[in-house]
């Protein structure tokens, strides 16, 4: 369906990534946010708090991130599209509720504007060091989807995509920004509502008697009901059967947890979004994401100007990891170069997916600023030798 025009601020704007993310959420139909202030993400909910009363919705500032990350889920079961916004320390506090959303199949979006860590780290400076936490931070086996924008325009476009994936797969979607993208001001074009595709909730049409809250169907994603409609359903974080009833047996666990994983994993090629340039005849491919991809672009351009054959692979979907495509590329090239604002996170996935077919070179950075293009260039040159 098309976006509700009330939430769409059609026009050409000069805004930062945080504000663009807020507009994306509004365009996607989010009418509820619960948050707790934390740099460098706060501007998203500040804007939401100012905008949402004009389009019909609620922002509530909670007492902490534990509360924010579950209040939004209560709102989802009440019928809203909802999200929360945070950064490293708050993201750590939200982990249990990411698991709850995965287990109860609550469609929602968690925005993490990454800053330097561990602990309080660098509150006002960038990092990309929550990438593994986004995937594995809550206990137990589960799958999530994570997207990584590299511009304010993408903060708008991909936030809509994040909500759409959340509804389609009934998973928590991690929107992995970073401080630079969040605070960078650029042109953001917001189209007409009629040009914005929005995925509606997968609401059941079954009768009260026939409805199974966690009944499986062809695509592994159950149909949802909301509180107050008369279905009288049960939702629990315990291992549960199709009725939603707790059933703590290895058999039920196996059926449930495999389905939670497979509903995303089986569609990972379709979920994978990436941008490629010059990959077909490259010797070296630079794999990057988020703000680092923009620094990497400079290094790639210089290297190609010097006669090297360097391609670009920019991940937009980071989880599930686009392993099929990385393996195809690995079979044809000498090496991958992976710059990231951490000491080596997504590089492990690149190396695993390359499966020995191509070498993998990390360009680490502990965070606090972006890479210098020459640092990436140096590794590109080394990798080519």
């Amino acid at each position: 369906m098309k976006a509700d025009p009330r939430g769409v601020l059609t026009g050409t704007h000069f805004i930062d990534g945080d504000h663009a993310c807020c507009e994306g959420a509004l365009a996607a139909g989010a009418r509820f946010a619960a948050g707790y202030p934390i740099t460098p993400s706060t501007e998203i909910v500040e804007r939401f708090a100012s905008r949402v009363p004009l389009v019909g919705g609620i922002f509530i500032q909670m007492e902490d991130e534990l509360a924010a990350s579950i209040t939004l889920q209560g709102a989802v079961w009440g019928g809203a599209k909802a999200f929360t916004v945070t950064s490293g320390p708050g993201f750590s506090l939200m982990m249990e509720h990411i698991g709850y959303a995965a287990m109860t199949e609550t469609p929602c979006v968690f925005v993490d504007v990454q800053r330097g860590g561990p602990s309080t780290g660098l509150p006002t400076l960038p990092a990309q060091a929550d990438m593994m936490q986004a995937r594995w931070g809550s206990h137990g086996d589960y799958e999530i989807i994570a997207l990584c924008p590299n511009s304010p325009q993408e903060c708008f476009d991909l936030t809509i995509k994040a909500f759409n994936f959340a509804e389609e797969f009934r998973v928590p979607v991690m929107f992995m920004m970073d401080e630079v993208v969040g605070h960078m001001t650029e042109k953001v074009v917001i189209p007409e509502a009629s040009e914005i595709e929005v995925v509606p909730r997968k609401h059941t049409r079954k009768s009260f008697e026939d409805y199974l809250p966690y009944g499986t169907n062809g695509d592994l994603v159950p149909e949802m009901a909301h509180a107050g409609e008369g279905y009288k359903f049960h939702v629990t974080g315990l291992t549960h059967d199709e009725r939603g009833y707790p059933n703590m047996t290895p058999q039920t666990q196996d059926v449930l947890v495999r389905r939670l994983q497979n509903k995303v994993r089986d569609s990972s090629d379709r979920i994978a979004m990436y941008e490629e340039e010059g990959v077909e005849d490259a010797d070296i491919v630079v794999v990057s994401y988020g703000i680092t991809s923009r620094v990497a672009q400079r290094a790639i351009d210089i290297a190609n100007a010097r006669g090297l054959k360097v391609g670009k692979f920019r991940m937009i979907t980071v989880w599930p990891f686009p392993e099929t495509r990385i393996r195809e590329i690995a079979a044809r090239i000498k090496a991958f170069v992976v710059p990231e604002l951490n000491l080596g996170q997504m590089v492990r996935e690149v190396e695993r997916s390359a499966a020995g077919l191509a070498r993998t070179h990390l360009v680490p950075h502990a965070g606090g600023s972006v890479h210098r293009p020459e640092d990436i260039l140096k590794v590109i040159v080394e990798a080519g030798q």
């Binding site: 009363p53 004009l54 509530i60 909670m62 209040t71 019928g79 909802a82 509180a227 107050g228 629990t236």
Partner: protein, 286 residues
């Protein structure tokens, strides 16, 4: 032959019986009272949602034939807050234990009371963590022996009615599982209130609390509740703290009115934005 159906039965997920609660446990009694309050107050069951946290009382949500949510440990209140704000037509009841609501969830308890979120909170207080084997809770009184305080507790306990009154609750009552009619009546009354209501129910855990402290079995505890409870409506909540074997002050302590969160929110936005304000009640849910 006419089968006599227990009036409570239509409210239960009978396909989930037997329940997990121990013989002599008081939680089942509170569920009975809750159900009788639902019958008495004629609450629309389709628009009633039940939210629990984790623990023995946290299992109540799973046994009631209602839209019911068994959430994470300590977070029933913030989940219920989101549910209520997104769909204000719902009557939202939080049903959980003392450890869940006042220890791990203590911050949410006081903030929901401060905001005056329109929730009815039923707190079954068995004075310990029961599900995990009888550890000390913030509510454990006196020098009670628990599995994590084998030589007796030394911490002062929370006086929950005092805490929630200070934080802003508009309705505060306490009963024991001996006071079944009074408890049912209090729950019915809470359904007539708009705002943060808190009902504490003192309840036995014969398996882990009474046994370890040589306080007898479930029946002995009922005798204790009967003999040592004193009904004092309107008692200053500062005076109602519990001891191990002393008297239990019960009754309705607080019944007052002040605007709930959503009323305040709407008024504020109307005042500030005038015509530009779009009341979110329907738009929230698309």
């Amino acid at each position: 032959m006419n089968l006599v159906v227990n009036p409570v039965e239509p409210f239960l997920r009978t396909d989930r019986m037997p329940h997990i609660w121990c013989p002599g446990c008081g939680i089942g009694t509170t569920v009975n009272c809750f159900t009788r309050a639902l019958i008495e107050s004629k609450v629309d069951l389709d628009s009633l949602a039940l939210v629990s946290g984790i623990g023995c009382t946290g299992r109540v949500a799973g046994y009631m034939k209602l839209d019911s949510f068994h959430t994470t440990h300590g977070r029933a209140i913030p989940f219920a807050t989101g549910l209520k704000l997104a769909n204000p037509k719902l009557n939202v009841v939080v049903y959980s234990g003392d450890g869940d609501l006042s220890a791990i969830g203590g911050n949410h308890l006081i903030h929901a009371a401060r905001r005056n979120i329109d929730l009815k909170v039923i707190c079954v207080n068995n004075l310990i963590y029961a599900m995990t084997g009888g550890q000390t809770a913030p509510t454990t009184p006196g020098r009670a022996v628990t599995s994590t305080s084998p030589y007796g507790t030394c911490e002062p306990a929370f006086n929950l009615p005092h805490l929630v009154e200070a934080a802003g609750a508009i309705y505060v009552a306490r009963w024991t599982t001996f006071h079944v009619r009074q408890l049912a009546r209090s729950i019915s009354e809470a359904f007539q209130k708009k705002g943060f209501s808190f009902i504490e129910v003192i309840s036995p855990c014969p398996t882990l609390y009474q046994r370890r402290n040589k306080l007898g079995d479930g029946l002995d505890t009922m005798k204790y509740y009967k003999e040592k409870s004193k009904v004092r409506h309107g008692a200053p909540t500062g005076d109602v703290g519990l001891t191990m074997t002393g008297e239990i002050i019960v009754g309705k302590f607080v019944d007052r009115d002040r605007p709930d969160y959503q009323t305040l929110l709407r008024a504020q936005l109307h005042e500030s934005l005038g015509e530009r304000y779009v009341d979110g009640t329907e738009a929230v849910c698309g």
